[in-house]
Symmetry: C2
Subunit: 120 residues, 2 copies
DNA sequence: AAGCTAATAATAATAATTATCATTAAATAT
DNA sequence: ATATTTAATGATAATTATTATTATTAGCTT
């Protein structure tokens, strides 16, 4: 939690592993995965299943949108909130028999850095 | 394209492979992956990088929201459109230096089937 | 201290996807 | 039509993130 709380860049399990290793050199990657799973299940962190095949972890547990750079893979927070009422008006009859648990909004494209650098 | 066009359930590469095999029994999985990649790059289909670690393919190339069932893994289309103006109002100053390419909205929860069946 | 329980480290297994490369098919030139 | 070049494919290996396994360790309880 300490390590994750300092990160605003949605680190992967492996990145967190490397960071934690500085404190606890004998920790194993399995333990990092296991505890991240426990934390995400208890709701104290978010496990982001974004595009791009690797899972990332977020200390901000509020539902918020992300921007994923298709070039460098970075995930950035976007500075506005989201909620279900943005869709389908107030009549949420699309829910039908479903039980809605969460909503993830993800923009993709080039981040500011990569967009500037690719204008060659 | 024939096989994919008949599917409304966002099949995986492996599912498509099994289907295509009925027509072309000697086709390899690699060829399926390769051609799905080509098609998604040319824009004739969508490669969905949803949560859940496997990629799925969608003949509907318009930006539309999905619902992913966390129990059975199914992906369903939701019957309303999305566009950027739903977020952040009209002043899209959050874009800053970024180049926005696409937007994916994904709800998760229990699909109608799984929600009904789990009420034990 | 002895015994029980839960967490961990080390390692193996899994699964989706991608890469490689020899072979085959298609296209083009002779 | 036949030879030659080019592109696509099938078969298989490699990669990578994640999960499972299991013996060992550490923390409690009596
Ligand atoms: Mn975030
Ligand atoms: Mn769809
Ligand atoms: Zn970038
Ligand atoms: Zn379901």
């Amino acid at each position: 939690m300490q390590v994750l709380g300092e990160h605003i860049d949605h680190p992967s399990a492996d990145t967190i592993y490397e960071e934690v290793r500085k404190f606890l050199p004998r920790i194993s990657l399995g333990t990092v995965y296991r505890n991240l799973e426990i934390m995400s299940e208890s709701g104290s962190i978010l496990k982001l299943e974004t595009g791009g095949s690797i899972k990332r972890f977020d200390p901000n547990t509020h539902s918020h949108p992300h921007f994923r750079c298709v070039k460098c893979g970075s995930i950035e927070d976007l500075p506005f909130g989201i909620d279900s009422s943005m869709f389908a008006g107030t009549d949420e009859d699309w829910i039908k028999g479903r039980k809605v648990q969460s909503l993830h909004v993800e923009y993709t494209g080039l981040c500011a850095d990569c967009n500037g650098n690719t204008k060659s």
